[in-house]
């Protein structure tokens, strides 16, 4: 009963000329949980609404299973949607909310009762069936909204930022719950969020969208380890990847990054083959905080960076240290600061004696440095 969802060359242009989605090609496998992630206005919700049939498609084709659904009415598509604000019918009890999609499909009363009760048990809503939505807590409303989608046993679940109205703690609980439920039910799911943490933790695969263009699609770890471009690199991961501008030089069988007066020598890095072509040119270097640590005596010479600590953040299990390097930052967005100095974030032990204003020497895991072309923003490989 579960089906693949296939987008072929799908485009959405609004009457005022805004392009919400451009030439989207994407296939969501049966029973997969695909997280569609991106900043607000990237077209992710539009993509979901086009799948639901709430938004017309300007060009291309959307298929659910083998059926082209472009012109089908929402109710003919056999999809269920969870809305950001839940959209529970305020005048109906929880039972009636859950029963509504079944009534609309002309299912018998006894069957409706059976299915609603089963769904309620699954979501631990048993005791709440007589209540009105306004008498429920945020988390309970969220469950009812999920229940209304599940009770239908549709081919596809569509979820539009379903956790964004919950507090942090409840959110992390519900993340696990939704993932578990989805796996148990085995229903193809499109999950839209702007939260990279939800994307990383929940997705079988992630599709990153920006300005209506698909940036990259793949399993979370792949996108994290090998982002195709600067946008994906900085969007996923917290703290965000630090970016620096550096000059590439060849030195025997190694590549050397020149960062101001400091040099990093790179040997076994996946970018090596591509980097050779960038000799004596500038590239953008991306460093994740887990690949930067406080240097001890063992760190080899070509893998150290010296800078001044601007800020430390103690997180309990670790400590984040923001370090200013005397290098010009790259002219890319998402770097926020404009002091004329680049900044990197490193992870150090929670009890390390670091303080703002001090000098620090960082050890760099050069095998995991990311390199990007400064003009195209593409990863160098």
């Amino acid at each position: 009963m579960t089906a693949a969802v296939t987008f072929s060359d799908v485009r959405k242009v609004y009457p005022d000329g805004t392009r919400a989605v451009t030439d989207l090609d994407l296939r969501i496998e049966p029973a997969e949980l695909m997280v569609i992630v991106g900043p607000s206005g990237c077209g992710k919700t539009t993509t979901l609404r086009m799948t639901a049939g709430l938004e017309e498609i300007s060009q291309g084709e959307i298929r659910i299973g083998d059926k082209v659904v472009n012109t089908l009415d929402p109710r003919e598509r056999d999809v269920a949607m969870v809305f950001q604000n839940y959209a529970l019918y305020p005048n109906m009890s929880v039972f009636d909310n859950l029963a509504f999609p079944l009534h609309a499909r002309g299912i018998s009363k006894t069957e409706i009762r059976r299915r609603v009760e089963r769904t309620a048990r699954l979501l631990e809503l048993d005791g709440l069936l007589k209540r009105k939505p306004r008498a429920l807590s945020g988390g309970q409303r969220q469950r009812v909204a999920m229940g209304r989608a599940i009770v239908r046993e549709p081919q596809v679940f569509l979820m539009d930022e379903p956790l964004s109205n919950l507090d942090t703690r409840l959110r992390s609980e519900m993340r696990a719950e939704i993932t578990g439920l989805q796996r148990e039910l085995g229903v193809t799911t499109m999950y839209v969020t702007h939260d990279q943490l939800e994307a990383m933790t929940m997705g079988t695969r992630i599709a990153v969208l920006r300005d209506g263009l698909l940036q990259q699609c793949g399993p979370p770890q792949t996108l994290y380890d090998a982002p195709d471009n600067l946008f994906v690199a900085t969007f996923l991961g917290s703290p965000a990847m630090s970016l620096l501008r550096c000059r590439v030089e060849r030195e025997r069988d190694a590549i050397v990054c020149v960062l101001g007066g400091q040099r990093l020598s790179v040997m076994d890095n996946p970018s090596m083959p591509g980097l050779i072509g960038y000799a004596d040119r500038e590239v953008v270097v991306g460093l994740r905080s887990e690949h930067l640590s406080e240097a001890d005596g063992n760190a080899p010479n070509g893998s150290r960076l010296r800078g001044r600590i601007r800020l430390t953040e103690l997180l309990g299990a670790e400590q984040l240290v923001r370090v200013e390097l005397p290098v010009a930052p790259p002219a890319v967005e998402a770097q926020g600061r404009s002091s004329g100095m680049a900044e990197v974030t490193a992870r150090v032990a929670p009890h390390a004696h670091v303080a703002a204003g001090e000098l620090i020497e960082l050890a760099v895991n050069t095998a995991h440095i990311h390199f990007f072309d400064p003009t195209t923003d593409h990863a160098i490989r």
């Binding site: 049939g53 709430l54 959209a87 005048n91 999609p101 609309a104 306004r134 569509l158």
Partner: protein, 279 residues
């Protein structure tokens, strides 16, 4: 909080409201007082409250009165008002729903036409309207009067509903569509319940207008046995020229139903006027 929030300004504000309420109550007082006086008292001391009250005025006004029988006109008024209001709520909300949810110019255009309908006075068209309705056999009966009211008050009804529906989020309707409901089921089960506050407002506002209607009722029910209360009271006043106690007893009977309805629907009314939707 150590300090009471009840300040001097609060007291003054309350006093001002009490005075205003008292001023508005004066006509009601006069109405009730005179309706309970004997004819002699109405001339000697019309403003003082009669003790003991002369209740028989009500039964006399109710039972007598030649062609202007109150019971029959009360029945006419009730039938016309309830039917007109019900038809206006069903048709007006459907129409407004279509206008408010339609994208594009046609919806706006129709909306403007309705607003124009509020502004233009009905008196401008009364003669041709009367002629047409006379030919259609719609003068002097309930059907014609109800139809006329629905037509006359549809602009106001659509205006009130459209404004409210535009403030409603679309999510509920979209959820219903994805849940598999058609347009009519969505409207009946999801949208209409959300419109409850404005429906209360419409019922009261439109109900008042129809109930108090004099001019149209006088013309379109002419000579029939279906006189409404305002018209009946008018001829009542003609029959009892000097007996103000009976006339005002009749008036008290006439406003009682609508007053009761207002008190009953007050809560909804205020919610509808302050618009918006919570929860």
């Amino acid at each position: 909080m150590s300090r009471s929030r009840y300040r001097r300004t609060t007291l003054l504000r309350e006093l001002a409201l009490i005075v205003a309420a008292a001023v508005f109550s004066v006509p009601f007082y006069l109405l009730l007082a005179i309706a309970l006086e004997t004819t002699e008292q109405t001339y000697r001391a019309p403003l003082s409250f009669p003790l003991p009250p002369h209740w028989s005025n009500f039964s006399q006004a109710w039972n007598t009165g030649g062609q202007a029988e109150l019971p029959r006109s009360l029945e006419s008024s009730l039938i016309i008002t309830v039917s007109s209001v019900a038809a206006l709520i069903v048709l007006g909300s459907l129409c407004a729903y279509a206008i408010a949810r339609r994208r594009g110019r046609l919806g706006d255009l129709i909306y403007i036409l309705f607003v124009l309908g509020i502004i233009l006075p009905v008196q401008l068209a009364i003669i041709p309207l009367f002629v047409v309705m006379l030919h259609l056999g719609l003068v002097g009966n309930y059907a014609g009067m109800i139809l006329l009211n629905v037509g006359l008050l549809m602009p106001l009804t659509v205006f009130l509903y459209t404004g409210f529906i535009r403030t409603l989020p679309r999510d509920y309707e979209e959820a219903a569509r994805v849940d598999g409901a058609g347009v009519l089921r969505t409207y009946a089960r999801v949208v209409m319940p959300l419109l409850r506050p404005i429906t209360g407002t419409v019922a009261v506002v439109v109900g008042f207008i129809v109930w108090n209607q004099f001019f149209e009722a006088l013309i379109f029910l002419v000579g029939s046995r279906y006189q409404t209360l305002p018209v009946a009271l008018y001829s009542f006043a003609g029959d009892y020229v000097a007996r103000w106690n009976l006339i005002l007893a009749g008036v008290a009977i006439a406003i009682a139903p609508i007053l009761a309805f207002y008190l009953f629907a007050q809560h909804q009314l205020i919610r509808g006027f302050s618009a918006g939707l919570k929860g």
